[in-house]
Amino acid sequence: MKNFIKNNALSLFFLAAFLLSLVGQSFAGNADANQQRLAEGGAPLSWVSYVTSSDFTADVAENWQSEYLQFLLFILATVWLVQRGSTESKKPGEEGGESDAEQKTGRYAESDSPAWAAAAGWRRSLYGNSLGLVMGAVFVLSWLGQSVSGQASYNTQQLAQLEDPVSWGEYVVSADFWNRTLQNWQSEFLAVLSMVVLSVYLRQRGSTQSKPVGAAHDTTGVEG
């Protein structure tokens, strides 16, 4: 048990942080929504009703889609684009999908390589892109979830304000949908930009996300 925790501490730490934040969001969101409902002459919602409501689902989904988009773009962009000196980049000249020998696929697969890395045809291709595909799928599903729950949340607000509800097609081209979407995207892209550029010049001793403290600024693709 002790070994399991030690070997998986990073995952467990972020799982706990995720769950605590989600629970915290649900209580804070419920209190905020109830303040608004009372001000509009409505009745307050219980916590259970709130966490199954479109308001909560939309708030969660819009953040999820932007996080998964961030990682999807980061995963794909770092195949083809480099940043000299960054820990997040390959070395200049290594752009592209790389050879089978470099990727240990096909006949270059090693005894402990995943089975589909050695396989031929679509299985090797699918496994070779599985990280991007799963991140992309979660992004698309989260964004779809945001649009559906966002429409419900928006229409609830529209009716509370004595305005007409809108269709899903009208909602996905609405200012509300794109405001919610872009305000999340811009912060994610800024965070990636910061990480790519700051890792050239700044260090965090012992972190995999930093070069060794004494590494030169133009050393690329080295992690401490």
């Binding site: 409505g42 609830t156 009716l159």
Partner: protein, 119 residues
Amino acid sequence: MSLVAILTGCSSAERETAEQAATRFYGAVHDRQGEQACSLLAPSAAEGLSTGGQRCANAILDLELPGGQPVDTAVWGDEAQVRLSRDTVFLHRFPQGWLVRGAGCTAQGELPYRCEVTT
């Protein structure tokens, strides 16, 4: 049940109960049952009609709300809109059921409906 219906609770049963609440309200107004009509209003809407020494039961009848047959009903979350042949009504779901929070409402283009009865 569709994903939208799951997320919004907007089933045909929901629309039916909201529509029935609107029909009961306009039935009371039509039958000149002011007290009953006011009991079907959201508390803040009823209070809004009880200003200047006038009782809600009298004020609601003085408005001569047009009503009509239900044409279309939309339910999203705890809010509903029932379009009648000569009127539009907005309702909110309280623990005791659907209550009217806007009646005698007229569309104002991009702006909120203007309602004779409102919260």
